[in-house]
Amino acid sequence: MDAAVETQDLAKHYTMGRALVRALDGVTLRVDRGEFVGLLGTSGSGKSTLLNLVAGLDRPTAGSVAVFGRDLNGLSRTDLSLHRRKMVGMIFQSFNLIPTMTAAENVALAMMFAGVPRGARDKRARELLEQVGLGGRQRHRPKELSGGEQQRVSIARALANDPEILLADEPTGNLDSKTAHEILSLLQALNDGGKRTVVLVTHDASIASRCAQRTVTLLDGRIVAEKRS
């Protein structure tokens, strides 16, 4: 099977004040195409850092990270933005929607960067919002939506450019358990039995074991456990 993500001795160090923080300290990990992997760990374990490196939002201090065989270390800033645009879809704990834009505009924005013409992107934004169950809320601004609805908008946005991998960073962290359940079901549906790779970062072992095929546990920037469910 192809590797969706492959990291080799991946490390990310930074200084905070005078202290050197080893956010990630030699992680070698492989995620197969179509796999649903949970990254489990406490706060500061390095799981979000790992996710950001895969997303191409950050660059490693040492080691390498390749997505679908492409080494991100060799990419320019522009190529990294293309990687984020085309290969990955990001879902955040705090949704990160643009407050002045409607749900549809937020989804369309991602396609705007990809140069999709207006008509096509408006149509696709509508379809995606329907797909995540927000058919009637296209013209609402984030403020007018509940947390769960906002996260659905953000998932629709992540899907806008039809990425290979969905990267979800604590997507249920700000949601009540019922809504969280719905969001996780949605992510599972998007994984669709191996059609799309999903990497889910969480601090909640039950969430990881419930929807991930494999759970990787991080502690102090290292992998300490791996479990198939």
Binding site: L57, S81, M112, A114
Partner: protein, 464 residues
Amino acid sequence: MMLSDTTQLALRNLREAVLRTALTALGVSIGIASLVGMVSFGVAIQDQVVGSFMRSGLFDSVTVTEPFRAGPRAGGRGRGGANAFRQQVGPSKQAPADTRLDEDALKKFAALERVVEVFPNIRVPVQVAYGDAHEFTAAIGVPMSARGRGVFQSFAAGRFFANESEDACLISQDFASRLTDRKPAQIVGTTLTLAYASQGNSADAAAAMFPGMPPMLPGGLNIQRNEKTFRIAGIVERQGGPDPVAAVFGAIMIPLAKARAMGSYDVLSPQALLRPASDKPSYSTVTVRVARAQDTEEVEKKIRDMGYTAFSIADVLKNDRRAFILLDLFLGLVGSIALTVASLGIVNTMVMSILERTREIGIMKAIGGSDEDVRRIFLIEAALIGVMGGVFGLILGWAVGRGINYGANYYLRTQGVPATNLFLIPWWLVAGGVTFALLVSLIAGSVPAMRASRLDPIQALRHD
């Protein structure tokens, strides 16, 4: 990302902060208004001065005179200005001896490269009789080639001479109003009589012309009075003529051939008066017309090398031009001060806007926006502020200029001075003003936009 989308994003960002955008654009407007106001004032002044020369259509002609004779004072403590002028327009050092402005000289000038036409400037002192009115002036000989050029472009009534042999004349509107109260259209077609002097043998005739003067002038010159009737063919709007001197004094103009026939020598010129009658006729000044205004300098030089004195309006204006460029530059600099302050306003607005929207920038980058996309959004925002400010600034500058113009002219009229336009906004200033506003705002916006584009997305996403 498509430019139309980028522009739309920039526009919506500006709309989100209407007040800030409006105030910043207003700052730019004031800057542009002051710049446009200053420059348009300079342009108007320049137009007043240079424009009157320009309209005379004399830029392509060189005026040639016989060389200045070095008098006793010339080499010594003469007036500095006169000496300088002499050096500038006078003949070259190794000037040939024969420098009379006769028909042979005219032929030599005509043979020069780039010369289109050579004609003598003949001014015949005349007494004009029109009805009961009598006026002393000089009738100016106009070559047929002057048709449609210079002052002969616009007639208040009538038209140019039909042919050279016509006993027709043109008069300036100003002169016409001195002769009669009739309207230009009514004057055309009527006749006037010119009395003029010519060399003759009758002492009685001379006595009739110049009562009280000795009938015989030194050198055996004899003067007689003649009269000739001319039909008024047309009335030109402005005073003028085919050469610079005529441009100032030209009140009545007749075909050149007629002027030659009336007396090819100039009674106002001592050289002509004192020359023996047996001599070939010569002229006090000659106009040499060249193909293009740029050619005047070269032709002037060649004529000076022949030993004559030559000058053109282009010479006079060359120095004026330099002064006006300096004036415009100075006014522009003063006007730019406000614009400089306004550009700082743009920087401030952009920095604020980026600070406020840091998180948004992080989001845009996380979902695939490139550095260039972010940079362009902010740059276009700055550019839009600049263009809005520029357009509004032009309107503002124009309105203020109109206001000052109105006030100043009101004052001028009370002082009996005719109204003039003190502010001129030519098209290049409109285009230049908006372009300049755009340029300044792009420069002002470039550093903030660059900073926005270089933001680290992870840091930006953590920003509240």
